[in-house]
Subunit: 339 residues, 4 copies
């Protein structure tokens, strides 16, 4: 951390500040330029708020030198993390396709879709039992009943299960029945939930918040990692921008950036990322081109009657058409599709 002092700072004021710094067990490295004094803080500043010193009148600016995330940081773990889920690898040279409906609506529905996905070549089955909806009057998911149906679908097809958790009171059931626990965009900074998930060893799919920066996103991963759970997969799902033609704006550069900053696997959600079924194919290919470790695609047998997010789902037929195109790109990028 670097403190830039204002021009008029007196010696007395500087001493008081330095005393404060040293009182925290840090060293203050003072360097005086023409008019400007700069103090470099040496030691572990990761727990310091950048605001601690900005309340000093003589401090003009506080600059952070190192990223505040440690365990998610590629600097401290240069090799890609590979997570094994029921024999399928996520990360590095492997590519996964997670697919399924937004919500589990019935046993028949989810088992039916799962069979078609399995046939087309999916890696994982996704399906929501608990749905975070903007309106309290919208369908909120089948709850534990939904988890039961997902379990049946897994038994029938062998596809491991990805499903979203919304609160810790059903954590035990998720640990038992779900293979990858998803944390939704709206819960990216539900720190109590993150910490509890960090105390399990379940793979966690952490979606990026609607307006979250890369650093905030990685800090949320850090909440999980710092409690001991190293199995975190990040998911870019589009950010809010001024453009309303698409539901969200997919930030494809996020894949490149996160891969540089962190060793964790990154997948892309082109369905939420655009809200347009006809964009799902091309955006999936773009994700592969940028080095993503997978995609998560919404597929519904009857999008028009879906109880949630039908408008962005593709049909199993469209899915079977898109998948070979994605595979072709995966091969060009020398990756292996995990099925």
């Amino acid at each position: 951390m670097i403190l830039v002092l204002k021009r008029g700072a007196t010696e007395h004021q500087k001493e008081e500040l330095i005393k404060h710094i040293e009182g925290m067990g840090l060293k203050a490295h003072v360097s005086v330029g023409e008019g400007t004094t700069i103090i470099g803080l040496v030691g572990d500043t990761s727990k310091l708020s950048s605001f601690t010193f900005s309340s000093y009148e003589i401090v003009d600016n506080v600059l952070r030198v190192t990223e505040p995330f440690k365990q998610a940081n590629r600097m401290f773990k240069p090799d890609d993390t590979i997570i094994d889920v029921c024999g399928r690898k996520v990360g590095q040279g492997y590519f996964v396709v997670i697919s399924g409906p937004c919500s589990v609506e019935s046993e028949e529905q989810i088992v039916g879709i799962a069979r078609e996905l399995k046939k087309a070549g999916a890696s994982f089955l996704r399906g929501g039992a608990y749905k975070p909806r903007t309106s309290p009057y919208s369908f909120q998911g089948l709850g534990l009943e939904g988890l039961d149906y997902l379990k049946t679908a897994k038994q029938e097809t062998g596809l491991p299960i990805v499903s979203e958790i919304m609160s810790t009171d059903v954590l035990d059931r998720f640990i038992e029945d779900v293979d990858i626990i998803q944390v939704g965009a709206r819960n990216m900074q539900n720190f109590v939930l993150l910490r509890e998930l960090g105390r399990t060893n379940k793979p966690i799919l952490l979606k990026r918040g609607l307006s979250a920066t890369y650093q905030e996103w990685l800090m949320s991963a850090e909440y999980i990692l710092s409690e001991g759970n190293k199995n975190v997969i990040l998911c870019e799902r589009g950010i809010r921008t001024f453009e309303n033609y698409t539901r969200n704006t997919l930030d494809i550069s996020a894949v490149l950036a996160i891969k540089k900053l962190s060793h964790l696997p990154v997948i892309v959600d082109p369905s939420h990322g655009s809200g347009k079924p006809w964009m799902v194919g091309p955006l999936s290919k773009a994700a592969v081109a940028c080095g993503a470790d997978g995609v998560i695609i919404e597929v519904h047998n009857n999008p028009k009657c879906a109880l949630s997010d039908g408008e962005q789902s593709i049909t199993p037929e469209q899915y079977a058409e898109i998948l070979p195109k994605i595979k072709k790109y995966v091969e060009i990028e020398d990756k292996q599709l995990e099925v």
Copy 2:
């Protein structure tokens, strides 16, 4: 809800769509213009997603006519809601000043500040026992111990307590010890938490999310209201914009807009809304000028050593200077300061 159809829509396609609408218990009011067909949906569309119909190929656009919030809507309850908290009124002609430190750090600290605030003329004491921090390595609050100290401060000064809840597992203690339960910006869409709070009858201070629209914010209030708890106070605390000079950008028009759309009380947080202690006074006056029902101000006895958000706190001395200026504006606006 209005559906605008594409130019080329065939009669057969229209019939299929109308059948779907009528199957939902709604009436379809078809109106044909030059080239364009418009279908108005008549009946209760509040539970419908605007996306239900956008997956139809012939549907060009789906337009919502009525707001999806009901209980928060001023249309259905024209009179201002007034909430009574320990004899202090919030809403309509009353104005409250909530103040205190970001975090409770010790009994001595919180009791000391509370005494100074009481003397200066505060309505409520705020203090965080649980702190949502971006980093897992930052101070997370004293937890239940913090609630104990707040209770002592209340006993000493008579100031009712405002404190933030982060998860439902400590809800019982909050109901017992806290007078207004705060939901932070990052939990504005933690729907499980909102629903549980809706099942109590405690006053809830619901902060606006960092990038939330007015409608999303009111829908979150609707989660609480629809469960039976009518005591919701909204709090504008600044939104994220491209400007980083201020911590957030205070959206002062939000006060005017929410007052128009809803009957719920609205207060303003100039401390988080700017992150600059010297902006707190003027922004508080602007809040009064726009009809806010109160302000929430961070005050710390020693901002430089605060364990969180010290940089935006004012000192009790500054507080005592600012308060009379706010009062003057409150009087001009014909409101009554509640102490």
Copy 3:
């Protein structure tokens, strides 16, 4: 400017970088912490791009210490700038009310409105002769004919004229006929136009761009100032955010921030800043509360039939009601209304 080097930087790489710095006539002040090397650049770095050094592989981060604006900077001119326009003062203890229709539509219209404004107590008359419209099919203004009508309105009422310029080819006429030349939000970074305006000595009203930061805005003022024209008035007119209920989101903190960073006068446009006539009064009061040097308000005799922006205009009757309330706030803030 400060360069933070990566951990693995070799001595050879550092020397190469330092040579580059010194080759630019700057001194390099090297300071080595635990693992991290920091280089402070001493000398005039105002013309340097912060990107010049970020292309060096060993440079991790480039941090700017001083603001790149000079002449607009309060640090170098601590006293408020006061601009005299036809005997009316703008800046410091003076407050101006600029008002009039979005577009000049006819001589009758503008003269009629001007008379009513004069009676109610306006400081300046605004009216658009050239209108920047999103669509080429919308009314683009009367052009030079509009300037003629404004001139007549000035002769009839004595109110000085504020009007927007869109390109330099009509600059001579603007210099002759207009008292304050307005630069619209969409032209805030039309650098050719700014530079030409800098070569006149006309007062310039520079509106903030739709998504501009404070620094970008001040740098645009710097374009004018650096050419010799010191008469720049800044105008906050709302920024684009995710909220569409209001046309723009008025950033009231901008007034406080710009006053701190710069000595230039700042006024507020509550009409464009909200797009809602009923918000104009309260937002004007909020502007006064935050120290603005004036407001610019759209007034139209028949908002429903206005050729542009009628929806946000107030009527002369509403104007006459609002003005006394603004005046009351101006008095409390110990400022003088210039008429």
Copy 4:
């Protein structure tokens, strides 16, 4: 255009509104639902502001049914526009690579780079003679001298020239010397400039504004098209978001959206879109995957010493490595690289 009326609207008020509509030569198609009245406007509403009617007290909401752009609209011209520039085709099945330095710095520099680009296989040479810089103190380009050097580079290599115009006073020279005239992001809504360019028949490369919506961007294209010039190429160059790790956030979905909405060619600028040289390759591939008609890439012989934007430029060597990878993707997508 559709007007949704408020519940309490009286017959008299409705009649007044309908009279206004019919007075504009439009038909009013009234449809009454339960409680809500909807009026559909039939006729040419393209020149109407959506605000014209929102000032009516009884109008609750104004909804636009058709896009306001006509000539840019694919609905009215279903086939892709193909633009021929010096024998190179832009649009449909053709793919172009435009490359070169941000600024022309000397004859030697631009001719040298042009030769290397030609060898590697570029379609066009770009180079800035006029540079829009945030600071008046930054290098502003060589001006007409820069155009001379570009001409020489064209003579030496045969590569057609792309260069940015900032004002109309040098338009004649641009028409003579430049093959594609670029309009920068900051001038996307410089309507005077757009209109003048519309009166030429030169191909125009119109960059998207920093926070522009698709519709605003297409409306700016409409300014050019409506004056008669049909040769418009759109360029996605990244938008401003809250993420500062990248210079801008490349909106890759924009390519898909614009291709759907319009028949005009769309290219992508991965250099400005990310600000990171190491992202240029992958983002170019993503652009191809999403159907872009080309990319524009910054290449500089010595990025560290570039007078502008060096930090995002790649070297000719890196360029020669990336190009074959882009070509491979172009082939998979069945397009032809134009050289």
